[in-house]
């Protein structure tokens, strides 16, 4: 991660609270947020929307060999998650590799995602965990 402070700060609403967008014209939801709707383009009526953060795993992998920023966290599981409102996103799932499966329900948790060395910014954001209906 080679971010400087403004680059991280401007994404805080999205990364902390899963704020995306919704187009009133066609009804489509976007996460990460888009200010131009690919369906309606200039006819779009875009407004902010806070996603519930619940969804299901569409596909996943467990990473054993990461970039330098994530090297100390291996192995960790990464998934493409389809949110209940429709859009998909990429995020980490805090679960043992053998627990992971396609179709599993997940919910969001607030976690540290990384650090810029000893004295730099600490990056927070959303990870996912198996939802209670999964654990049961």
């Amino acid at each position: 991660m080679t971010s400087k402070a403004p680059r991280f700060w401007r994404c805080i609403p999205q990364r902390y609270n899963l704020i995306g967008t919704h187009c009133h014209n066609c009804g489509e939801y976007y996460f990460p947020p888009r200010t131009l709707c690919p369906n309606c383009r200039r006819d779009a009526k875009i407004e902010d929307y806070k996603f519930k953060g619940t969804g299901k795993v569409v596909t996943y992998t467990t990473i054993y060999n990461a970039t330098e920023d994530f090297d100390r966290m291996t192995p960790y599981s990464l998934a493409i998650i389809q949110l209940d409102e429709g859009p998909r996103l990429t995020g980490q799932v805090v679960a043992a590799p053998e627990e992971m499966r396609i179709g599993m329900r997940v919910k969001p948790v607030f976690r540290i995602l990384g650090k810029e060395g000893e004295r730099g910014i600490i990056y927070y954001g959303t990870k996912f965990v198996p939802a209670e209906e999964e654990i049961r």
Partner: protein, 387 residues
Amino acid sequence: MRPVSIIGVGCTKFGERWDDSLRDLVVETGVAAIEDSGVTGEEIDALYVGNMSGGRFVEQEHIGALIADYAGLSRLHIPSTRVEAACASGGLALRQAFLAVASGYCDIVIAAGVEKMTDVSSGVAADALAAAADREWECFFGATFPALYAMMARLHMRRFGTTRDQLSLVAVKNHHHGCLNPISQYQTEITVEDVLCSPMVADPLHILDCSPITDGAAALVLAPAEIAKKYSDTPIRILASAQASDTLALHDRRDLTTLDATVHAGRSAFQQAGLTPPQIDLAEVHDCFTIAEILAIEDLGFVPKGSGGKAVEDGMTALSGALPVNTSGGLKACGHPVGATGIKQAYEIALQLRGEAGKRQVDEAEFGLAHNVGGSGGTAIVHIFSR
């Protein structure tokens, strides 16, 4: 638009070229291509060079001027342009050169590609490559390139029953082809067991499912077809040049087991060439990971969706098969100097169509296809060539 031919080709040895700089590699390949074509410096109207990330790999931008300068052309003041589309930068350079000649604006144009990747540690290289993915919404959360393709592989296996062994067989085949190609980075045979025993990178992909970090450069000389015979006894016609885009992030795609950019570029290329997939004699496809070759042969229409793994297992894509794929060794074994790969693919097809591919020669090859992908499929470029 007028027909365009390749009248000269050059390619460096691919590998870890510790003794050579980016500029050394460019000079080596540029001289080879220009000598092969017999053009003089004064005849060259323009240069295009594909380079993904000189800034990250060797802290050098402004690669266009650099290559014109070190190719000894600075006093001729020939316009030189660097183009970038991540791992499809080379294919894009070829397409820009093609358009310049086809339009009638230029006559003799050089299309080159170069990447010098081993001047940085493998961690820095991996991070530079990850910039081809969505930095804010994929990489920030820990995504790597192997991880993105691993997620495509897992879903492909789940939906279509593609097996772990079928993935391995792509690597086994491409290493075999690499052994027959003198410029290939790897000259060693591997087995299905070797792939499975190699370290896991991103489950289900092992290190031997992945293309390596490579230094290398390649170059082509293009000319209007009507004057090509003046320079070459065996000019290679570029029948089609197509390019398509898709979402930058994998998670936004219509379907996670299809590269729609490949589908669209492929369809457009076949339409331009007036050919259908069964008429193609050999193909160089973008096998940055083993699963990527399976996706490519499906998305280009060579086999139905979901049957790519089976086609590999049945030997269809082997040197002796109905459609030899990646006779150069592909990105997997020949190596993947990202900016050079798209040009190297065209170089391999040109050698095959000229009948100069030595031990890996495909008999009576008439039509060849090259398929180059940027990132996880945000860009795809397809060219079709004929004798």
